[in-house]
């Protein structure tokens, strides 16, 4: 860089140009050797930053194996209760189950079917009133290769049957939305990020 012929552009003008790919000054930048040299410097910096981040992530993940498991164990995450759903019993008793438990049940039922992973699950309707109609709305991720209408029907039946056993909800409908498709299962051992 020649200090006697400073073009007057500052590094942040060039940073903005690099970040956005556009600048009102693009014409000057394209033809100014000083700006081009600075741009090259910024690009090298960005490349080095990506390498450093990659290194940092690799060492953060592998140093003291089990740090994350220890941390997760210490968190003691509690599941969410949601609304309280009444159950008929002896009239003198207050018997109920939580909405969170019912949603977990729907998840488990869905997950046990081949090719299905349950996403968000909502119980729409007044579950706190015995006998009130309730619609179960689930988002589902399906694996390739399962015909979706059949899968949806299988899921509906399983959910209705499961809820009939474990709850007293008046299930008016089970609405299934396929929100995601997953690739076929990878060969054992080749699964990405499968270090568990």
């Amino acid at each position: 860089m020649n200090p006697t012929r400073d073009c007057g552009r500052r590094i942040w003008d060039l940073s903005d140009f690099l970040d956005t790919g556009a600048s009102p000054d693009a014409e000057h930048i394209a033809h100014c050797p000083q700006c081009q040299a600075r741009l090259a410097g910024l690009r090298s910096l960005h490349a080095a930053a990506l390498e450093l981040l990659e290194d940092d992530v690799a060492s953060a993940g592998t140093e003291e194996s089990g740090w994350l498991e220890t941390m997760l164990a210490n968190l003691r995450l509690e599941t969410r209760a949601g609304r309280s759903i009444p159950l008929a019993g002896d009239p003198s008793d207050q018997l109920s189950e939580t909405e969170g438990a019912v949603i977990a049940l729907v998840r488990n039922i869905g997950d046990s079917l081949g090719g299905v992973l349950i996403g968000r699950c909502r119980l729409d309707g007044d579950v706190t009133v015995p006998g009130a109609p309730v619609e179960v709305n689930v988002n589902v991720s399906a694996r390739y290769g399962y015909p979706l209408p059949g899968l949806a029907e299988q899921l509906r039946e399983a959910v209705v049957a499961g809820l009939l056993v474990e709850t007293e909800l008046n299930v008016a409908a089970v609405n299934v939305a396929f929100t995601d498709m997953r690739a076929p299962i990878a060969e054992p051992g080749t699964e990405e990020g499968g270090k568990l």
């Binding site: 910024l42 981040l53 997760l72 968190l75 995450l77 968000r120 991720s141």
Partner: protein, 189 residues
């Protein structure tokens, strides 16, 4: 053969958006899968923002607690990684403030990797090692801005909000940090 997979394995290839939905519904296994997936990145980020490994891990832990509480309100589950990183950024800055207000530490705490340790000697002489040294020499306020931008992927406005300063100050600090870093990388070459 017919034994069902343990939940963690079943979720291993589930997309972030689905895991975020489940975690929002209270599925601990889904949340833990997200934590395993993005934990190393969160930790790497936190380590560059904090001045000791122990502090950095405290920040990651606090961030996971916050994330578990808040994930039900996350609108776009596909953006959960960026969201987790924003939480780490906020928590790290808060922790830095708390430390300062206790006033037990000097203004310029010793960065984590000022000197290359034995395990780092393999990369000595690389551009990233030169960058690591140059970063360690930056004033903390500049280093934080740069890390929030380059590691955290935050916009000027987000950094300004995280640090409680103006976007113009962010721009200035970033420019100074980049000028120094570019110069030091060029000298190294």
């Amino acid at each position: 053969m017919t034994r069902s997979n343990p939940p963690a394995h079943r979720l291993a290839d589930a997309p972030d958006a689905l895991l975020a939905e489940r975690a929002g519904d209270g599925d601990v296994a889904a949340f833990e899968t997200l934590a395993r997936r993005h934990g190393p990145l969160m930790r790497a980020y936190s380590r560059r923002l904090m001045s000791s490994v122990a502090e950095a891990d405290d920040v990651v832990q606090e961030s996971l607690i916050t994330a578990w509480k808040e994930i039900g309100n996350l609108r776009d589950g596909a953006a959960v990684k960026a969201w987790l990183m924003r939480i780490v950024g906020h928590r790290a800055v808060d922790a830095g403030r708390r430390r300062k207000s206790h006033g037990t530490i000097t203004d310029q705490p010793e960065p984590i990797d000022k000197a290359p340790g034995p395990e780092q000697s393999a990369v000595t002489g690389s551009a990233r090692q030169a960058l690591s040294r140059a970063l360690a020499g930056l004033p903390e306020e500049q280093r934080r801005c740069w890390i929030l931008k380059e590691y955290g992927g935050q916009s000027y406005e987000e950094i300004a909000q995280t640090l409680g300063i103006s976007a113009a100050s962010v721009r200035g600090r970033l420019a100074r940090a980049r000028t120094t870093l570019v110069t030091e990388l060029e000298e190294w070459r």
